[in-house]
Symmetry: D2
Subunit: 298 residues, 4 copies
């Protein structure tokens, strides 16, 4: 397939790499010339603009920080739409953005004679490198079937979530639960410590009981409970506090527009926000436990 790829950051670069390895004809664009050179060395073409990257493509994939970037890349003078008008190109946006923007972009794409699918990912930079990402796809059944072979070169699970924007909804709702459970496990572990139970014992009990959750059994915020978790290596690596903040911001924003209350999500957002305010935004989000522990200077 001929694929245009816009956005070669921490996630986009390894994703593009895997597409090249799978034999697709890739033309890439990024604001960083260096990022483009690295990918060119792996066999991709590069382009001077999103428009140029999208020229002659069957699919265009965007992997960008926020909705504003996606909008600029789609509708700018040197943007994707300028190249794809009436060509029935399928645009796949793998950025994590708000569902309302997705709907607006999809409508613009349709007016331009293109298809638009939202396909945010989970799995982190590790999954992007290994090609084991999960893609949460929003679009018609046909659109899903159409993009599945392309996404399969970058991921292991390609899940159809429903119509346009439901891929983003799935991602946002999952990360809402994640942000809450991590803070919840943090306060329970810190409380247990203060009340005198061995954190490893407490972790073991929770993990085999009704408190069981990924934030406890795979990513426990208390140092030493789970050997492979960021908490055990000083909260480095992993999923940064500022990224969790971005996703909780998307969740509470979407809730605001849908007039839905999100009590715990809004409160969890403030906890991560406090971490960020005090300078810990780049630590793994499980460092939120520092707000609770006596020794946890933030």
């Amino acid at each position: 397939m001929k694929i245009g790829f816009i956005g070669l950051g921490n996630m986009g670069a390894p994703m593009a790499h895997n597409l090249v390895k799978a034999g697709h004809a890739l033309t890439a664009y990024d604001v960083s010339a260096e990022a483009m050179q690295t990918l060119a060395a792996a066999g991709a073409k590069t382009a001077p603009s999103p428009k140029a990257a999208a020229q002659d493509a069957d699919f265009v994939i965007t992997m960008l920080p926020a909705a504003a970037h996606v909008k600029a890349v789609l509708t700018g003078e040197e943007g994707i739409f300028a190249a794809t008008a009436k060509k029935n190109v399928t645009i796949i946006d793998s950025s994590t953005i708000d569902p309302a923007s997705v709907k607006a972009f999809a409508e613009l794409a349709n007016q331009n004679g293109n298809a638009f699918v939202d396909a945010p990912v989970s799995g982190g930079t590790g999954g992007a490198a290994a090609g084991t990402l999960t893609f949460m796809v929003g679009g018609s059944k046909e659109a899903y079937e159409h993009v599945k072979p392309v996404l399969s070169a970058m991921g292991k699970n390609i899940v159809h979530c429903g119509d346009t924007s439901t891929g983003q909804v799935a991602k946002i709702c999952n990360n809402l639960v994640l942000g809450i459970t991590m803070a919840g496990v943090s306060e329970a572990m810190a409380l247990g410590e203060a009340l005198g139970i061995d954190p490893a014992v407490l972790g073991g009990i929770i993990n085999t009981s009704t408190g069981r959750c990924w934030s406890s059994d795979t990513y426990n915020p208390f140092p030493g409970v789970i050997e492979m978790a960021p908490s055990t290596r000083g909260y480095t690596g992993g999923f940064g506090t500022d990224l969790m903040l971005k996703d909780l911001g998307l969740a509470t924003d979407a809730a605001k527009h849908a007039r839905q209350p999100v009590y715990l999500g809004a409160l969890a957002q403030q906890l991560y926000q406090t971490m960020s305010t005090k300078g810990a935004g780049r630590l793994d989000f499980s460092a939120v436990i520092k707000l609770y522990r006596k020794e946890g200077n933030t």
Copy 2:
């Protein structure tokens, strides 16, 4: 073994039953004569007071609603201590109460020449009937080994949590996480519904992703996502909202005394409290999702 058993409620009755079935010589006391008769029919002796039930016992097990009841049953004129002085009896309290009271009771028991072990349970009335409860035991290693054979007649997992009161700490901290995750999953599922994703699809994604937790994959609060969950049968049966409130009350109280913040736990407590205020205290605690759904009249 000769066992005294005080408290034949929804949990205590089937537990006592299983001890009788295992061949122990049981003498039981309860404020309800009817509860005693039912157990007598199964082969237990009954007694007119906690003191009488504890006479000649090697172990005394208490299963009561709150710390005040445990205190009365231990220290009252017709209480356990009146029968067990200097007899080296082991008292096992399986009630769910606050860790500070446990420490006080253990000290009183020691002064009376008895051992005291806290051993709260999880598994509900189903686990009590089936003899598959989990016991979380707080006490010395020796005390744990001593009570294990007795508890094994009533439960499948007998976990040593550490010194006196850590059994309660484990239970309280686990249920703190549980109360938070259930409310968190509720707000995510309700948000997803409002944003247009199929709840079954959203549940499936969360359950295979980082939001995975018991409150979602086993007990999902959205009707129809998990067939066996109370949400699918009108929030009947299961673990009542008022019971969750009791446990969150123990957690926030213990936190207050330990000077530990419990942000999400305190907020979750208010959500279940609202349910109770509005008359829904006897519904399963997963009914908290009604606070979030447009159609959820509480």
Copy 3:
């Protein structure tokens, strides 16, 4: 003075009226022809577009629902900037919008050769009609002195808050406190009721003690405590729940961008959101007390 006025809603219409009464030459625009006719009957000219209303004006005042409207009215093809280029017109925006948008609009205005001042108001529709509004003005000292005579025709207190956007900051921060205190007074009054104190007595004590606040002594949410408050007339009139939601949304959004935690503000937002979700968005915001009272069906 020659004044263009854009936005003749519940607030804008009486404000424009007062400018006419004060003898200013007003040219008004609104999407509603009816609103323009009413004002024309009072002596104003009307215009077919913002551009036409701004033609030849010394000042242009905008009073609109949200930042998106202000942007459209400023930068649209038939917008204000199209008429005011290089004319050194002073644009006064009295809408309540986010500080970041204000800064962006001010920069655009400067590039267009105009001055831009943010001047949101407090005092409600009553104050707008009576000409007793408070204006919170953001801009240079000179800009403040320049707009003061114009604003004085519509308001009683014209407060200089500091540089561009600080008018909005003042309004947002004040309403953040307001949203929190109203919910706080609601939970205290409902708790007092449940604990058996006469609400009027409790109100009296709070109002002469350290809990004293506008939400209690002027606008108490418990019916009957303050005769003139909306609570005493079924929560009609006053400041709608959905308007409070808008302002708390601006506050939490601004906090998100400034990386500041707003714990109570975010939680209060969820409470008003719950009211709105359940269909009570048009009641006065003090109806939030219904979430707390046993009899308060929402």
Copy 4:
């Protein structure tokens, strides 16, 4: 009048002093011999026990840290009841304790042939020394009239709140509002600072607008806004964080027993709790603003 007085702490000592100055015959008891000597030097008698202090008294006043102390002083072997049986003595408890305990104590007093009135105070150590305290009195109209002359020697406002325990309800509900407004003003002031408005200007606007409250106009947490506030002298003096925590604990506990939600109160409690956990429990409670400010190391 002959008055027994139990509890000569920071509040009790100056209160007892004022009773002596007013000409009452005072017999005092405290666990601290030093506190008794100081009072004796001012003209009071001292006693070796609460019982001895209550002997021959018309009124007995208690001013103690918590309900457990009041209970011990009333019902202990050397307690008040041992001296006052069937003597129609009026016991006035000015401690701040939970309403449920008050009701229990009042019933015990009645059974002992005594009257019992709850009369917690506001006004702090300054008001205690100056004799300008506010007393919130719970009891019958007759009981209120009976104690008023005695309380008038120590306070300026003697308010009848209703039946037994409503004095405590009034105090608890007022301080619930206080704890919430202080945290609310803190987050608004910190947000304003981060968004670039001069805190003194912001304080001035809030104090003349709908956000107006004691926590802002008299006790503003931002240093320098109110010259006489503890914030301006390093958060020393004033009302300690741990005391606010005690009162919020009483409020959330009373709410739990009454099955009333207290969303903002429970959250505010966690904020002050975080301050205490991190070692700031003895600072004035307005130091909670440090949780919000970038420079606020706690």
